[in-house]
C-alpha cells in the first residue's frame, strides 16, 4: 500500500495553501495524515470543509492520544478524522499539544457533531477547547476529579459519589459506612 | 462493484388513506396466528426453562472444567498461560512442586471466580496442554451465595453442581483410580499434601 505524494491531493493542497503550518505528513497504511500547527487549526479546518478540492463535509471522529508512556513531548495529540462524501476521501489531521498548555481552539461552529466530541475529549483528557459554548463533562459526573483516559490516571482508582454510596450502603445493605 | 442505489417506496395508495382496510388486514393476520396457536401446531420458540432445556451447540462456552489424563492426574502444568491471557483476570493459579518426580509442576490452587469470568474462551485457546475446557454445557449458574461462585481446583469437575451437593466433596474418591500399585504414588492425584 504505497501511495506517492502526488496522489495525496489534500496533503498537497494543504501544503500549497498553508506551507508554514504543516509540520509533518505521512500516509501509514493508506491513511492520509497531516500534522499541523495549533495556531492554524481553525483556518485549516475551514479550508478543508469549504475548499472545492477538499470538501470534507463530515467530521467522522475527534479524539486525543496521550503519549506519556512513550516519553514524547508534546504529550497530547489531538486527532481529527474527516470524510469527504463528494470525493470519497478521508484525512486525519493531528495537532500536538503540550501538557502545560493543553488548550486548542474549538471548531464547534464548523460541524455540528463537534460539540459533543469536544465535550467528551475534555471529559476524558482534560483538553480545554477555547470558545466552546458548553464545555462540561459528558460521560463522567460533574463531581469527578481528574480525567480518566490520561495515562497517569490509575486504572484501579475509584471515585464513587460519597453521598450516594452512603445511602446505598446504609439503606440497601444495612451497613454503616 | 458499482454503487447501486435503491429509493425506498413510501406507500401512499388509496388503501393506505383509510384506517379500516389496514385494521382488517391486520386482524386477519393476528387471527391466523391466534387460531394456529390455539388449535394447530404451536409455532412457539419459548422454552419452559427449568423443565425444558435448550440443546446448546457443541461449541457453547459454558462453565469451565479441568481435564485429566487417563490415570486421573490433572493435565494442568500450572504454566500461567490462562491466567495471563484472561481479560477479566478471574483465574488464579499457584504452582507447586510435586513429590512424584514424573510430575514436574502442578497447580496447588486453581481458582476461577465465575462471577468475574466473561466466558470469552481465550483461556481454552491459550492452554498448551488442553487442560482447561469450557464444554460442560452448563448454561446458567444460579447459586444463592457469592462464595459458591469461587470455583477451586477440585470443584472444576465435569458434573459438579453446588445446588445438588450440599457439602462438596474435596476428596479424590470419585476420580479414576490408577491402574497399578506402582503408579499409585502418594498423593498422585494432584492433591496437595496437607
Amino acid at each position: 500500500m504505497t501511495t506517492t505524494d502526488s496522489e495525496l491531493v489534500t496533503t498537497s493542497l494543504l501544503k500549497k495553501n498553508f506551507p508554514k503550518s504543516i509540520l509533518e505528513t505521512h500516509c501509514h497504511r493508506g491513511d492520509e495524515t497531516v500534522v499541523i500547527d495549533r495556531k492554524d487549526l481553525l483556518s485549516i479546518c475551514e479550508f478543508l470543509r469549504d475548499d472545492e478540492g477538499c470538501s470534507y463535509e463530515m467530521l467522522v471522529d475527534l479524539t486525543a492520544v496521550d503519549l506519556l508512556e512513550q516519553n514524547r513531548t508534546p504529550r497530547f495529540e489531538m486527532v481529527y478524522h474527516f470524510k469527504s462524501l463528494r470525493h470519497g476521501k478521508r484525512i486525519r489531521v493531528k495537532v500536538r499539544l503540550d501538557e502545560q498548555d493543553c488548550s486548542i481552539d474549538s471548531i464547534y461552529h464548523l460541524w455540528k457533531a463537534v460539540d459533543w466530541y469536544e465535550r467528551e475529549c475534555f471529559d476524558m483528557y482534560g483538553i480545554h477547547f477555547n470558545n466552546h459554548p458548553d464545555l462540561r463533562r459528558i460521560l463522567m459526573y460533574d463531581q469527578f476529579e481528574g480525567h480518566p483516559l490520561r495515562k497517569d490516571y490509575p486504572m484501579d482508582r475509584q471515585q464513587p459519589i460519597e453521598e450516594l454510596r452512603e445511602i446505598e450502603e446504609r439503606y440497601h445493605y444495612q451497613r454503616d459506612v | 462493484m458499482e454503487l447501486k442505489v435503491k429509493q425506498v417506496k413510501r406507500v401512499d395508495g388509496v388503501k393506505e388513506a383509510f384506517y379500516i382496510p389496514a385494521a382488517f388486514g391486520g386482524l386477519r393476520l393476528t387471527v391466523k396466528h391466534f387460531f394456529r396457536n390455539l388449535f394447530g401446531s404451536r409455532d412457539v420458540v419459548t422454552i419452559n426453562y427449568p423443565e425444558e432445556k435448550r440443546p446448546v451447540s457443541m461449541r457453547w462456552r459454558g462453565r469451565h472444567r479441568l481435564t485429566r489424563k487417563d490415570d486421573g492426574f490433572l493435565k494442568c502444568v500450572a504454566c500461567y498461560m490462562c491466567e495471563t491471557v484472561c481479560p477479566a483476570k478471574c483465574i488464579h493459579i499457584e504452582a507447586g512442586e510435586h513429590p512424584d518426580l514424573s510430575i514436574e509442576k502442578y497447580p496447588v490452587r486453581f481458582d476461577i471466580d465465575e462471577l468475574r469470568c466473561v466466558f470469552c474462551g481465550l483461556c481454552v485457546e491459550a492452554c498448551p496442554k488442553e487442560a482447561i475446557r469450557m464444554d460442560t454445557g452448563v448454561v446458567a449458574m444460579a447459586y444463592s451465595s457469592r462464595k459458591t461462585f469461587d470455583f477451586t481446583r477440585d470443584l472444576l469437575r465435569d458434573n459438579y453442581d453446588p445446588n445438588q451437593h450440599e457439602s462438596p466433596k474435596y476428596g479424590d474418591e470419585d476420580l479414576p483410580r490408577p491402574e497399578s500399585q506402582e503408579s499409585a504414588l502418594p498423593n498422585s492425584q494432584g492433591i496437595p499434601a496437607s
Binding site: - | Y19, I20, A23, G26, L27, L29, T30, V31, H33, F34, N37, L38, R42, D43, V44, V45, T46, N48
Partner: protein, 357 residues
C-alpha cells in the same frame, strides 16, 4: 316456603338479588377472567406461551392460578401515597371507573322475561341515557387520579384522558341516535324487542348491525376510545408517559384500575350485543313454537354470553393488532372524521325512517 316466595316477590329484594347475581356472577368474574385471558390470548397471537408459572404443588391449571396469585399479590402489596398527593382524592379515584363499569350492567337484560320476572336489574325509561350519564362519571376517575398524584406524567395522562373521554362521549351519543330512531325508544327492552323482528319474511333479523351498519362501527370505535384501550390508549401512553394517570398507584388501588378497564371491556361487549346483535334474542327461535320455556331461557343466556365473549375477544385482538394513535390524532380522528360521519348517519337515518316507517 311461602314466606320465601313472598319475600322473593318483593321488587326490592328481587332487585338486590339481581344486582348480586349480575355483579357477582357476571360482571366481576368476566372482568377478572379477562385480565388473564388478555395475557393468554395475546400470547397466542404473539407466538408465546403466556403465563403458566403460578402453581400449587405441581398444579398450574395452565395459568389459571395466576388469577389467585394476582389477587393475593395486590392485596398484600403496600398501598403507597406519593408525597404531595391530595390524599382523599387520590384514594377514592380508582373506584369511579369500577363503579361506572359495573353500573353499565344494571340495564342490560341477559335473557327474556318469564312472566313478571325480568333478567334485568331495572328497565328504566331513559335506558341508554343512563349509560351516557354513568360513563361520564368514569372520566372523574382518570382526571382525579391524574391530578391528585402529584406527578407530571400522571398529570399529562389525566389531561389526555379527560379530553379524550369527554370528546368521545359526544360521538358515542350521536352514533346511537340512529338506533333510537329506528327502534323508537331509548328503553333497552324496547330496543332489544325491536331487534326480534325480521325482514323479508323470516330471512334477516332486524338487528342493529343490519339496520345501522355505520352506527355500529362508529359506536364501537367510540366505546373503545371511551374505555381508553388500544389503539386509543394515549392516556395510558405506556411508552411515553409510562402509565399515564395511574402511574403512582400500587397494590389494590392499581388493581382497581385494571379491573375497571376489564369490566369496561365486558361492558362494551354487552352493550354491543344488546344494541347491535339482538340482545338475548336467538334468531329464528320463534319458528320453534313448542320450545319449552326453560330451554328458551337457557338458549338466550347462551347466545348472549357467546356474543359477549366474542366482543371481548375482538377487543383484545384489536389491541394486539393495531399500533396506537398519538394523542392529537385521536382527537382529530374524533372531531374531524367521526363527528361528521355520525351526524351524517343521524340525518340519513332520520330521512329513511321518515320515508319508510
Amino acid at each position: 316456603m311461602d314466606l320465601i316466595l313472598e319475600i322473593l316477590s318483593i321488587p326490592l329484594v328481587q332487585s338486590i338479588l339481581k344486582i348480586a347475581f349480575i355483579i357477582l356472577l357476571f360482571a366481576m368474574p368476566l372482568g377478572t377472567v379477562l385480565t388473564l385471558m388478555e395475557r393468554k390470548w395475546s400470547a397466542m397471537i404473539q407466538d408465546r406461551v403466556g403465563p403458566n408459572r403460578a402453581n400449587v404443588g405441581n398444579y398450574t391449571g395452565n395459568g389459571l392460578l395466576h388469577l389467585a396469585a394476582d389477587g393475593l399479590k395486590s392485596i398484600f402489596k403496600e398501598d403507597t401515597i406519593p408525597q404531595g398527593a391530595n390524599g382523599f382524592l387520590y384514594l377514592i379515584a380508582p373506584f369511579f371507573g369500577l363503579i361506572a363499569g359495573v353500573a353499565t350492567f344494571a340495564i342490560i337484560p341477559i335473557a327474556g322475561p318469564i312472566g313478571d320476572f325480568t333478567f334485568q336489574v331495572t328497565d328504566i325509561e331513559p335506558g341508554l341515557l343512563f349509560i351516557f350519564a354513568i360513563t361520564s362519571l368514569s372520566v372523574y376517575g382518570a382526571v382525579l387520579a391524574g391530578t391528585s398524584s402529584n406527578s407530571k406524567f400522571a398529570l399529562l395522562g389525566g389531561t389526555r384522558a379527560s379530553a379524550q373521554m369527554i370528546s368521545y362521549e359526544v360521538f358515542m351519543g350521536l352514533a346511537l341516535m340512529g338506533i333510537f330512531m329506528v327502534y323508537g325508544s331509548t328503553r333497552v327492552s324496547d330496543i332489544v324487542n325491536g331487534q326480534n323482528e325480521y325482514w323479508f319474511g323470516n330471512l334477516i333479523p332486524m338487528w342493529g348491525v343490519f339496520t345501522q351498519p355505520l352506527g355500529f362501527f362508529l359506536f364501537f370505535t367510540a366505546l373503545i376510545a371511551e374505555t381508553k384501550r388500544a389503539p386509543f390508549d394515549a392516556p395510558e401512553g405506556e411508552s411515553e408517559i409510562v402509565a399515564g394517570y395511574f402511574l403512582e398507584y400500587s397494590g389494590m388501588r392499581w388493581s382497581a384500575f385494571m379491573l375497571a378497564e376489564y369490566v369496561a371491556v365486558a361492558g362494551v361487549a354487552v352493550l354491543m350485543t344488546t344494541l347491535f346483535f339482538g340482545g338475548y334474542h336467538v334468531p329464528w327461535l320463534h319458528l320453534w313454537e313448542s320450545a319449552p320455556q326453560w330451554l328458551v331461557t337457557l338458549l338466550q343466556i347462551g347466545k348472549f354470553s357467546i356474543v359477549t365473549i366474542f366482543f371481548c375477544w375482538l377487543q383484545i385482538q384489536l389491541r394486539w393488532t393495531l399500533p396506537k394513535f398519538r394523542f392529537d390524532q385521536t382527537m382529530s380522528l374524533g372531531w374531524k372524521k367521526l363527528l361528521p360521519l355520525s351526524l351524517a348517519n343521524t340525518a340519513l337515518t332520520a330521512v329513511v325512517v321518515l320515508a319508510f316507517m
